[in-house]
Amino acid sequence: MTISRFFIGLGMGIFCATGPAGATDLRFSASSYGTPGLIDMPTGSPWPDGMLGLSSVLTKDMQKYTLTFQITPRIFGSFRYSILNGYDAGENRYDRSFDFGYLLMEETQYRPALSIGLRDFGGTGIYGSEYIAATKTFGDQLTLTGGIGWGRLASYGGFTNPLGIIDDSFETRPIQDVSINNTGRLDIKQWFHGDAAFFGGVEYRFNPRLTLKAEYSSDAYERETLKMGFDHKTPFNASLTYGFKNGAEVSVYALHGSEIGIRGSIPITPQKPKYPSGIEEAPPTLMPRQTQAALSWDANSVRQKNSSLSIALKDQGLTLEGITIEGDTATVRFVNGRYPAEAQALGRAARVLANQLPADITTFRLEAMANGVTTSRTTLRRSDLESLEYDLDGSWRSFARADFEDAAHSEAAPIAGIYPKFNWRITPYLDPSLFDPDNPVRADFGVQAAASLEPARGLVFSAAVRQPVAGNLDTSTRPSNSVLPHVRTDSAEYAKQSDLEIKYLTAEYFFRPGKNLYGRATVGYLETMYGGVSGEVLWKPVNGPLALGAELNYVKKRDFDQMFGFQDYDIVTGHASAYYDFGGGYLGQLDVGRYLAGDYGATFSVDREFDNGFRVGAFFTLTDVSFDDFGEGSFDKGIRFSVPVDWLTGAATQGGYGTTIRPVVRDGGARLDVRNRLYDVVRNSHTSELEDRWGKFWR
């Protein structure tokens, strides 16, 4: 009989992780701007909460690439990179823009959805416009949209701004300062000013695959006409869209009677990975209790490195580091080297303990660890495991019956022979630099060797060496024009002047100064551009939403060759940080302090982290560097995302892939990029994160 392996890795289509099978109805309406809309015109209906839309649009002389995120059920934000051929006296224009939209009113049976939005509110203003749009669906097939626009959305068919009733100043849109140094500022004085114009359109869905859209556009394409020879023949646009089963779409559209465009889009639903419960093997079966004699168990042998308990835990990807048995209680310290969800590690560890320890040990205290320090202690009762294994509400009940507390000092006696630990890894790497002002994609590709040695608990020596093989990071020809110390703007020099590179070479020490307190000291070559000393203290209770931290660094700029030498520039930099978990997956962070160029200021960040670890966020930094001195972009800002490996593949593997996209990298508001900042090191085993993924406890 042939035995085929069941599901594991059956042509997993790891790149098609856009929602589960059966999600055939995943239609969303996107415009050429990659935002909720018709063809060029916006609509009033938002996308489903949490959805990420990636879209690209091509016409004869223009390309647009947009990432839109439905941040909350009412708010979306977009980042767009556009390439306009010959826009600047024959030269191409590479334009970055941000959009924002807010749902004012949800659609009901009799009322349309109503949204207000801003396009290109912080860029060079090529697409600068504001709108209010209403959208109503009729049955499953027909959708009507009408709206009023300002700015670019009032360049055709404009009339005197009705907001003039409130104040005459609304009737005039101030002349925009479009100099490059002025980009990035919010043009609040322009918003909803000047002429207004109506737009509208219809969307008709023939079937789940085919959709027709037609619109009356209030966009005259003035700049394209003037600078790129665009021919605006009619205000009407039309498109035909084909939708694939996973929600991806391809559209062909006719633009103002003179051009044809193609749009492609892919929706990503972070809440719905392809394998919702993961494909890792089943947990150990919870067996009936056994006596000490039946297990041939004794309290001493369990302290050996090769005890059957240790081996059974290792089989689950867990390393036993310490154990103490007192009366009916076993306290165990272990490292989870496999599961992204700490709750899953706890569930498996508890079942292994139940199977390996004699019947009279009835309480298990599990100490989780990160980088050598204990981060929390979870107390579970054997009887709860036994009664809730297949309970319909076993997930919640087991969470409610567990106790979580800080473990500032481990109460499990160490097992001899665990340290030193040595790990190494050789991997290919990709180092991208996205959407810089001259080239949308730069990247280096090569081989990285990384190793770490832990001679004792909490002490880690680590190094990574890279050898680039191919790439174009070194082709940037834009010399830094920054008036600040070049703390980041000459990053291209590091790619140009290096070959074999030391990515980092550090000694780190992690420790617990007291209850709810964590400490880190790092010395060495900290990141690509800086080496020195870094110290951090974090206060973070296991059971609270708030954490506070402080970090102080003395760093020196490294030589461009990324070997052992330093340049003359040195600086004391550091921040006081507050972290707050607002619930519902929204995380806020405020960092106040001194940045690498010596500027003082604050960074504001908000992230939305789905329970499965998929994370999308945005940040901006304001410092005492003036907008003029900062240069292009006016202040530092960006968006970031990270996707867990297990979200993509379903396999129980820690880690993820992420990147930060900044419209432009400048020297103001630049922060040191030291590894292993404490907040993200310790939070995974704290109550809020455990609760987020507690469904995995029984998995």
């Binding site: 035995i3 085929s4 392996r5 069941f6 599901f7 594991i8 890795g9 059956l10 589960p20 099978a21 059966g22 809440q271 394998y275 919702p276 419960s277 494909i279 093997e281 089943a282 947990p283 919870l286 009936p288 080297g337 496999r338 709750a343 036994e386 294994e389 297949y390 309970d391 319909l392 997930s395 919640w396 790990n423 190494w424 890894r425 050789i426 991997t427 290919p428 790497y429 990709l430 180092d431 991208p432 990247a443 329970d611 499965n612 990270s642 996707v643 490996v645 993509l648 593949t649 396999a651 880690g655 892939y657 992420g658 930060t660 987020d692 993924r693 507690w694 469904g695 995995k696 998995r699």
Partner: protein
């Protein structure tokens, strides 16, 4: 979660997977993902129970041709809930032939309560029942669904179990809630009232499993 930074998306995925490392788990991942029909090293625990003559099921996944495996019963707890483990390290929670949990199938049922349906089958009655299923959703949360089901006897059916042919009653259990509809099939042996063969829905992701008891 630690994030390898700064890495590009798809390429980095391959990068991470094609690594070689002191950690064997990470080195093997690519092989496992790409090979698809990976070579299966039978689970030694499974083999021990199989050789000891534990009750056995042949189980196939309806949505995928040639996807089948063997489960043996490993243990039964105080509540009569059984854990069955497979050759390829999956497990099923079962109670009297009804699946009450799965582990390792990509879209697992954390728990299920089909007791009303089971009672109807055991009694050989047509009945309207309630069935509850707790799934592990994509956000790692347990999510309980309630279904209203119609249990209806269809006809007598012979089921060839190899060593002998079982004389059974075939029942349909047709379940629905607002969004989901599925149909389970049960072949209930006359006399013993045991479920000797069945087809049971797990989740939208997994679909349906077909089980047949292997007489020992």
């Amino acid at each position: 979660m630690t994030v390898l930074r700064p890495l590009g998306f798809m390429f980095a995925l391959l990068a991470g997977l094609s690594a070689c490392s002191s950690d064997a788990e990470k080195s093997n991942l690519l092989k496992e993902l790409v090979s698809g029909q990976g070579e299966v090293v039978p689970d030694p625990t499974f083999l021990a129970y199989e050789q000891a003559g534990a009750p056995t099921y042949l189980v196939s996944l309806e949505a995928k041709k040639q996807a089948y495996t063997i489960f043996v019963r490993q243990t039964t707890n105080a509540k009569g809930e059984e854990t069955w483990i497979s050759l390829d390290k999956l497990s099923l929670g079962m109670k009297n032939g009804m699946i009450i949990a799965t582990r390792g199938m990509g879209g697992d049922q954390l728990a299920g309560d089909p007791s009303q349906t089971l009672a109807a089958l055991k009694a050989g009655r047509n009945e309207v029942t309630e069935r509850f299923v707790t799934l592990l959703n994509g956000e790692s949360q347990a999510e309980t669904l309630a279904f209203r089901c119609e249990v209806e006897r269809q006809r007598q059916a012979d089921v060839d179990l190899g060593p002998y042919t079982a004389d059974t009653d075939l029942f349909y259990e047709t379940c629905r809630n607002g969004q989901i509809r599925f149909r389970n099939l049960f072949w209930v042996e006359r006399g013993s009232r045991n479920l000797v063969q069945s087809r049971q829905w797990i989740s939208e992701t997994v679909g349906t499993l077909a089980l047949r008891a292997v007489p020992r």
